[in-house]
């Protein structure tokens, strides 16, 4: 195990326990800036850890999560890089410093720890949570269909053996419920970004309905800016738009729920696709992926800071 976060290998994939150790090191190194919140427990009892980056009390918040689908390994790997980037750049990068002088940033690096552990130990291709389903031999729920936003509608499955099984009821999964409870109890999140991979997209609500969200024009403009910034680093092209228009109808999705909770800047990413590896993106792609995504995240966070609501 590395002794400091400087010694952590950001260009390699890591297990849940290694990522947890990384978080603890980061907190230990910057105790006045970074803290670790445990917002709940997964079905198998793993802690749902959230890093909080804060420079003052009673701030509005920006939420970022990675890894809700277990096999999308590049997302928690990028989240780890983001955490270090936030710590490294605060006080040096004027834009990030200004953001952190007004907002707290919450970062959940492993949103689905049971599934993530399962990908490391039993089935690298696992996507869902690990809670057994009553009356079925199939395990787990697609946590990105489990939210109370058009729950049960088209674009999700009621078959426990499907990869898009929505679960028995909205927020039935502890991994989802923990975020729901956190969002509600915090009450002042202004941006919410949920990060997936892969297919190079930046999406905003809605997924469950064709009715455009009321902020569509602004969200579209900001998405355009974010993907332009992202492309400036390595030339990676992203599509952007509402979920239902760019990909497909998907009911019960994360950011539809957060948007309906009043979090205007709700986005979801699909990180880079080299066209050759899918979920098996080689580890040497982690840092380029994280670097370019960071530019888009900064665009969203800065816009959130500059456009209070």
């Amino acid at each position: 195990q590395p002794r400091t976060t400087d010694g952590y290998d950001y260009a390699s994939y890591h297990t849940f326990s290694e990522i947890t150790s990384f978080m603890d090191m980061l907190v230990q190194e910057k105790p006045n800036f970074v803290s670790k919140l445990v917002i709940g427990k997964s079905y198998e009892g793993r802690p749902l850890n959230v890093l909080k980056f804060s420079t003052g009390a009673n701030r509005p918040g920006i939420w970022i999560d990675t890894g809700i689908h277990a096999r999308e390994w590049v997302t928690p790997a990028s989240g780890t890089w983001f955490a270090k980037k936030i710590v490294s750049d605060y006080g040096h990068d004027t834009v990030l410093t200004a953001i952190l002088d007004k907002f707290d940033i919450f970062l959940e690096i492993v949103t689905n720890p049971d599934g993530f552990h399962f990908t490391h130990t039993s089935n690298r291709m696992w996507r869902k949570t690990r809670k057994p389903n009553d009356g079925s031999i199939c395990v787990g729920v697609d946590a990105n269909r489990n939210w109370d936003a058009g729950f049960g509608g088209a674009g999700s499955s009621n078959n426990p053996c499907s990869e898009t099984y929505r679960g028995p009821s909205a927020h039935s999964e502890p991994e989802v419920k923990a975020i729901v409870d956190f969002v509600k109890s915090h009450g002042n999140l202004k941006a919410f970004v949920s990060i997936h991979s892969y297919s190079q997209m930046l999406l905003y609500p809605y997924g469950y309905t064709r009715t455009p969200c009321k902020d569509q024009a602004e969200l579209d403009e900001l998405a355009k800016k974010a993907v332009t910034d992202l492309k400036s680093l390595y030339g990676t092209n992203y599509k952007y738009g509402s979920i239902i228009n760019v990909i497909y109808q998907a009911s019960g999705g994360t950011i539809d729920w957060t948007y309906n909770q009043g979090i205007k800047y709700s986005y979801t990413f699909e990180l880079r696709d080299t066209g050759r590896y899918g979920f098996m993106l080689p580890a040497n792609q982690i840092i380029p992926t994280a670097e370019e995504t960071w530019l888009a995240l900064m665009a969203i966070m800065e816009h959130t800071k500059n456009n209070p609501y």
């Binding site: 390699s12 994939y13 089935n123 291709m125 066209g275 098996m280 580890a283």
Partner: protein, 94 residues
């Protein structure tokens, strides 16, 4: 531990709504145990599907019969997983 010897990931490039609908039909063939990494939605998006070894012939025949273009994105998924494991071990050792 589940392994994936001989599994291939095909990148399918549909060019019409008809082909999309054929791929949707293919996705309903439960016995093939296909794992769609990206779903057949519309013809501007490629479809990536993991095909177990025992289903490869049937899927290739289906695609060939309907003249649906595809490339092999991953020739042997387990090879990539083994490589990923080696990389992780190397990283830990260093």
């Amino acid at each position: 531990k589940e392994t994936f010897e001989g599994h291939q990931v095909l990148r399918i490039i549909p060019i019409s709504e008809v082909q999309i609908n054929l791929l949707k039909e293919l996705s309903k063939q439960d016995h093939l145990l296909l794992d769609f990494w990206t779903e057949p939605i519309h013809d501007s998006l490629a479809v990536d599907v993991r095909v177990p070894f025992h289903s490869l012939q049937a899927v290739r025949a289906f695609l060939g019969y309907h003249e649906i273009h595809y490339e092999i994105m991953i020739h042997d998924l387990q090879d990539l997983m083994d490589e990923e494991q080696r990389e992780m071990m190397k990283s830990r050792a260093s």
